[in-house]
Symmetry: C4
Amino acid sequence: MSAVADLRRTVAELHRELTRYELVIWTAGNVSARVPGQDLMVIKPSGVSYDELTPERMVVTDLHGNLVEGDYAPSSDTAAHAYVYRHMPEVGGVVHTHSPYATAWAARGEPIPCVLTMIADEFGGEIPVGPFALIGDDSIGRGIVETLSASRSKAVLMRNHGPFTVGKDARAAVKAAVMLEDVARTVHFAHQLGKPIPIEQHHVDSLYERYQNVYGQ
Amino acid sequence: MSAVADLRRTVAELHRELTRYELVIWTAGNVSARVPGQDLMVIKPSGVSYDELTPERMVVTDLHGNLVEGDYAPSSDTAAHAYVYRHMPEVGGVVHTHSPYATAWAARGEPIPCVLTMIADEFGGEIPVGPFALIGDDSIGRGIVETLSASRSKAVLMRNHGPFTVGKDARAAVKAAVMLEDVARTVHFAHQLGKPIPIEQHHVDSLYERYQNVYGQ
Amino acid sequence: MSAVADLRRTVAELHRELTRYELVIWTAGNVSARVPGQDLMVIKPSGVSYDELTPERMVVTDLHGNLVEGDYAPSSDTAAHAYVYRHMPEVGGVVHTHSPYATAWAARGEPIPCVLTMIADEFGGEIPVGPFALIGDDSIGRGIVETLSASRSKAVLMRNHGPFTVGKDARAAVKAAVMLEDVARTVHFAHQLGKPIPIEQHHVDSLYERYQNVYGQ
Amino acid sequence: MSAVADLRRTVAELHRELTRYELVIWTAGNVSARVPGQDLMVIKPSGVSYDELTPERMVVTDLHGNLVEGDYAPSSDTAAHAYVYRHMPEVGGVVHTHSPYATAWAARGEPIPCVLTMIADEFGGEIPVGPFALIGDDSIGRGIVETLSASRSKAVLMRNHGPFTVGKDARAAVKAAVMLEDVARTVHFAHQLGKPIPIEQHHVDSLYERYQNVYGQ
């Protein structure tokens, strides 16, 4: 069970990136990680504040959101995370926030256009909007999966709600959440005083290609 | 007198959430808590900076704002808090800030429309505007109580002044103040570049119902 | 010389409020204090970063800006501070920043209208704009003094430049600088989505009267 | 090799100014320094987060970006930094960020007009836009050098990408990056509610002249 212990620590620590970059307030955002090779995930407990998130307080559920291990109820967004893991086997981490600039695009139901090299690098094109969906069944999860499946983007703006991001692991999903809010904000600013200049599609493609394959160590 | 001692500590600590989320500057905001079962409240002293707020420096007054215990004069907003406790027996905590986005809506006298699931969850509909009222008598308290009584919202935007929030205890009122500024900001952003999409009333109702009854531990 | 030693410490510490509230970047802002009963002032050294401001590094000048005591050259804004002390005997502290929202109003040459109770409380009416003035002689100081003399405001927005605030001591001037940026921001937000509602002049007067005479300990 | 050891420490520490002033997120920005008298530069490693930047992890390359010393691959922006050092012998430091307000101007391809004394002081006029350029060859470096060569500005806004700044050393380039974002933001705010008042050219010239020659210790 040492993979789970490691992920409890990783997931607890990654929540600090959400507060550091001011993507969340109070308890309103969560990170999860798939347990590799098992039908399990590690996720934030519901309604527990970020200061009090320890590895021990993380919750382990199966991929239908049923509690497997932990002293707390899992995040109220667990069903959406679980749906993503069931339907996107390449995804190892999911993040949900209500980060303000991304959520403002989501409130208008407008995708974020690809007008920055950073968007091309990380998201490979515009960042799409998912449907309005109520919490309580698989509606949110299905909206995330259907929207992401039709895009290169690792981020989806769920309408009137907020963003979900995915990644090969929890750290990659958190990175996508951080970069999403950053570009949502910069493109917001750009639009406030006029129109950003589009980037030609072939440039978007070559930026995306390079960043996915060359960047980093 | 141990309930009072506990509340002195709680109220002192909760002020840190106001500075953490940048809802207040200098000394311009305050938290109070009703002492359960007694006609007393614990509130911030007037004009004391947040760094210097210790449990000992908190002030105890009766529910007409008269000093009962403490070395400092109570907050200049004490009369408003006291009025709320006298007229809303279900309220155990009151918070007042001048958080910038909420106050901008208040300056225009415009309610914040319910265009985010987070607003439906926490506030149950649009966040209403209260009347312009001068400090010095019961005008502010009466404006708060009359406005909140006509709404499911725990927050009211006092015109040209700033928000007041209430809760079953001081922590819940602080949570409402934090979430209010967050949604005031996101909806502000959404309006800057167009129009947010409304959420249908029956969805607002079901989100509010669920969040009030299911969320958290 | 113990009054000077005290003021060195006070002035060094007050600069931390400028960074805490993000009113300044790098070395671009300064606090000074008049030495009571002497024709001296204590001011920030020029081009020294806020992390390195110790009481020992503060500079003492006469009220024409000539170095009296200290190992560093005084702030490049010393002449403006000195002019204010020479011409406004009731002023004991002066603060200069380029805080972004206040400076944006200054860049347009527009006063901040009195549409918040906090503006009425602290500034007694609209916050006025001073003339464009070059550094190097008494132009800035004269612009500050002439503008403040025609107003109840403790803050002036120097055109295309940034704000100066004054107070009975350095702490009061810093408080005014903090509140100025807060209201400059909130009124900016209010204007972005429409028009704030004006506050009637007799209400402004009674708010100002009360705050100046009753608030605090 | 002690100059290199010093610069490793300096460059590592200067990255903290990028996070302090929120000019960068995750790993998306970098500082470099020329090694005086040698055809070498010290630069951030690629894809390493700011918390983990130690002097030892800095990378030394030649002025064509080839690794000379270090355990990590150099920043993916190394080619651009190296090009600047090869073609601008007076430059001792280069900084690249995607700071949000500056990048918003870059996304629209609009220079920042010189409407603040701080812009005249530090940049000597409007802050120019460089061409759209793909990463992978000398296009970015050439765009920076050509744009800066036609201006007094130490900052260039690379179109759809973000700013680069230069200075006589790494600290001066970081200072320019910090001031750039500050003025990009303030002028953004000023434009949101109207038009800033221009500063006459002869005033710009005299402000620039004075600041470059008189300011600081």
